[in-house]
Amino acid sequence: MADLGAVGRVVTGVVALAGGYVAGTVRDAQGAPARRRLGLYHRGRLSYSNSAYSDATSGAYQIACHVTDDQAEHFVVCLDDGAEPVQNDLILGRVTGV
């Protein structure tokens, strides 16, 4: 069969100029990976940036910082599991997106 070479054209649609991500792993009190809701906040402005859920199997999470915030410091709030006895929420402070 003849080689027609590259056929067709990929039209670039809307793309994102994305800033850094804050990523980590959530574990429960027994040290097992856990699904939790997390919020990302700009430390200087005390303003909400974004949120995510950690993965139930691996505990991994990734939250996008605003592209406007460059290397600004943030803090992550990990909410406790509403189905379990009330615990203080956890804070991971002074993180920057990469």
Partner: protein
């Protein structure tokens, strides 16, 4: 594809633009940016094969179609401009784009004032094309800030879907008084101030073209000023949403390519003019983009320009 960025406030930069008749400030700016370089800035690789009093013809550099841009600095407030496929003298060019019949008053603006006061300018260029922005009513102190009139000009080759398109050179200017913003408009019909030397098939003469973006709700409106678009930063990703700006033949609506390094924000006037944003992740990781207004009175567009 990174452009070299040249600015009015660079060390050794040529004089700011002014609006006086026969002020060669725009010719001098393009000569310094495209042909000779200045200070620590290397030239973009163009040539200036023909000159006369208050006129110059610049030619695209390596890897380009090798077309010519003629400027006439005699009017007040702006230079009259026209592209040519070839030239043998300052007043002898063939296959003009646009033709005089299509547009006799295509211009690149300098200044709204004829008092000789300077206007900030910015040029982003490589050997194949350049983008020119000027703060037509802004003082040097205002710099990149938003003012009433901020026209823009583009001359050079698009990134074409057909690598064999030997006529994919766009001239995008203003008309008459030079303060219009055609580069900032998406349209579904022939532009008044944007032309290419031939159609996609390489036949016939100069054609008026149209351009648009892939931003949802863009319609026929100002680029980067899209009502109903997501807030900035995008609430979902925290990012600056961007679309290529794509140019089409009006006949058949076929794509001629995209404006290289010039993006359409998918927001409603995001950020502020002069803001520089850096991509950290995703398809545009490592790229730096500067937000710029391309404005005429209440018609305000905002583009994102790739810079080094």
């Amino acid at each position: 594809m990174p452009y070299t960025l040249y600015r009015w406030d660079d060390p050794g930069a040529p004089a700011p633009l002014n609006g006086q008749s026969n002020a060669n400030t725009l010719i001098n700016v393009l000569d310094a940016c495209l042909v000779t370089g200045y200070g620590a800035k290397a030239p973009a690789g163009w040539s200036k094969p023909f000159t006369a009093a208050n006129q110059a013809a610049f030619r695209q550099g390596a890897g380009s179609n090798g077309f010519y841009l003629h400027l006439d600095a005699s009017p007040l407030w702006h230079d009259k401009v026209r592209g040519y496929e070839s030239m043998t003298a300052i007043d002898a060019g063939t296959n003009p784009f646009p033709t005089v019949a299509q547009r006799s008053d295509l211009v690149a603006a300098r200044s709204s004032s004829s008092d000789g006061s300077g206007r900030p300018w910015l040029v982003a260029a490589d050997a194949r094309r350049f983008f020119l922005w000027m703060n037509y009513q802004g003082t040097l102190a205002q710099g990149l800030a938003s003012t009433t009139y901020q026209p823009a000009f583009f001359f050079g080759d698009l990134e074409s879907p057909n690598t064999g398109d030997a006529f994919n050179t766009l001239i995008s200017g203003g008309i008459s008084n030079g303060n219009s913003t055609f580069l900032g408009y998406a349209s579904h019909g022939a532009s008044n101030a944007e032309f290419m030397p031939r159609n996609f098939a390489g036949t016939g003469g100069a054609v008026a073209v149209m351009k648009t973006t892939h931003v949802p709700f863009q319609s026929t409106s100002l680029i980067g000023a899209v009502a109903n678009a997501p807030a900035f930063p995008d609430p979902v990703t925290g990012s600056l949403l961007l679309s290529p700006i794509e140019v089409f033949d009006t006949s058949g609506c076929v794509s001629r390519g995209v404006l290289p390094g010039i993006w359409a924000p998918g927001h409603n006037l995001p950020g502020s003019p002069g803001d520089v944003l850096t991509g950290v992740n995703g398809p545009l990781a490592g790229k730096r983009l500067m937000l710029l207004d391309v404005a005429a009175a209440s018609s305000r567009a905002r583009i994102a320009l790739e810079i080094p």
